[in-house]
Subunit: 207 residues, 2 copies
DNA sequence: TAGGTTTTGTACCGATGAGTATTAAACTAT
DNA sequence: ATAGTTTAATACTCATCGGTACAAAACCTA
């Protein structure tokens, strides 16, 4: 009954915006990776003290998961949205160009959090690394399913291999992330995409 | 004059094989990255004590450079060798398949040291990160030059863009490295290469 | 055998890592 | 006002980080 307005919970009120703080954490993990982001880096960027971080977000690992969720719903939201494009070609193009834009957007670290977060690391970060592997695989699976449906719809030729095509696109995306981390510009990535899309079915050849 | 045989330098002889120890260090950095590889990891794998490591290889950063050199001359030597193939197409195919093989070779970490070494990291590893960016760029430049020459030789059509083609191939290679780190198998990578090569000039379309 | 030189092993250094105990402060409810 | 509850800030914990001092050991030359 009294649920909509949360009745102003008791106790000292939180003096910071948890959402804003989480956004700052996203940026730190994005630029430095799980292992390279120290709690001092995080608390400094978030503008809060260490115990506040632990009270609000749990330990470093839990904070990282929340950061990944936030990333998926924020900067990387184009990714799931792209799957709703009408044709397989437009799905893939929106995915590729959207990625290129995100990877080179000024004000953000140049790279993809799911790749930069942890590729190779020490034991302490291994849980985070596995989480990233799992999320990358989930993204690939979603694209594969979308391409599978496209083939059933006749939007891709019957000889096309949705699994391999999805992997091809994801491989490009992850490669672009490494490229962007090394300073490759947006227009350079666009040219790579232009070449890559020549392999796409229905523009001529198939797989 | 007396230079060929080094006259058995004075002092207590080194009790380990520096080359073998370096190979172990390659493996550790390859699997854990610069930041994730602690000196304890390294000395343990190399079978030597900490002061021996510093005496023989310098500090962690210097050791890492030596590891990168060793990697280039050893596991990644196919890379420079590929540039000597007769046609641009065989250059690129040898590069791609050689990479897929290295990335999925049993007994080695699955991934490329130049990518796994450090993508995003804390301040302490930033020098290593920059070194890797520079080495990746050097590899791309070498391929670009080779493709440039191919175009001048008529081995690539005059409308081809060697810079973009080189970047496309390198992007694929780096993407495959991320894929391999996530468990993608060799045959799956082969299928990606098969799709990717459909974009290559002289098999039909151009750029 | 004695002196000089280099490596080895142990034990340490200060700095920083993640995580927490504790008390003061700021709020609500009675 | 007073009690109960939650957050805030300081200051700490212990483990590990990269790097090194020091003395014993193992070699060469003389």
């Amino acid at each position: 009954m009294n649920k909509k307005v949360p009745t102003k919970a008791a106790g000292r009120p939180r003096s910071f915006d948890a959402g804003k703080a989480l956004d700052r954490a996203v940026e730190v993990f994005w630029r430095k990776g799980y292992e390279g982001a120290s709690l001092s880096d995080l608390t400094k960027a978030m503008g809060i003290n260490r115990p506040s971080l632990y009270a609000a977000f749990g330990d470093k690992d839990k904070l990282f998961r929340k950061v990944l969720d936030r990333y998926a719903e924020g900067p990387a939201s184009y990714s799931s949205a792209a799957l709703e494009e009408p044709t397989s070609r437009s799905v893939v193009e929106r995915l590729l160009y959207g990625t290129a834009d995100l990877l080179t957007s000024p004000g953000n670290p140049h790279g993809c959090l799911l790749v930069q977060g942890a590729l190779a690391c020490g034991n302490a970060a291994d849980s985070a690394r596995k989480e990233l592997v799992s999320r990358r695989m989930a993204g690939e699976a979603a694209l594969r399913q979308r391409l599978n449906q496209a083939r059933m719809d006749g939007d891709l030729p019957p000889e096309a291999n949705p699994a391999s095509l999805a992997r091809y696109i994801v491989t490009l995306i992850q490669g672009m992330s490494v490229q962007a981390a090394g300073g490759t510009t947006r227009s350079e990535l666009y040219r790579v995409i232009g070449i890559a899309m020549q392999s796409w079915p229905s523009s001529g050849r198939i797989v």
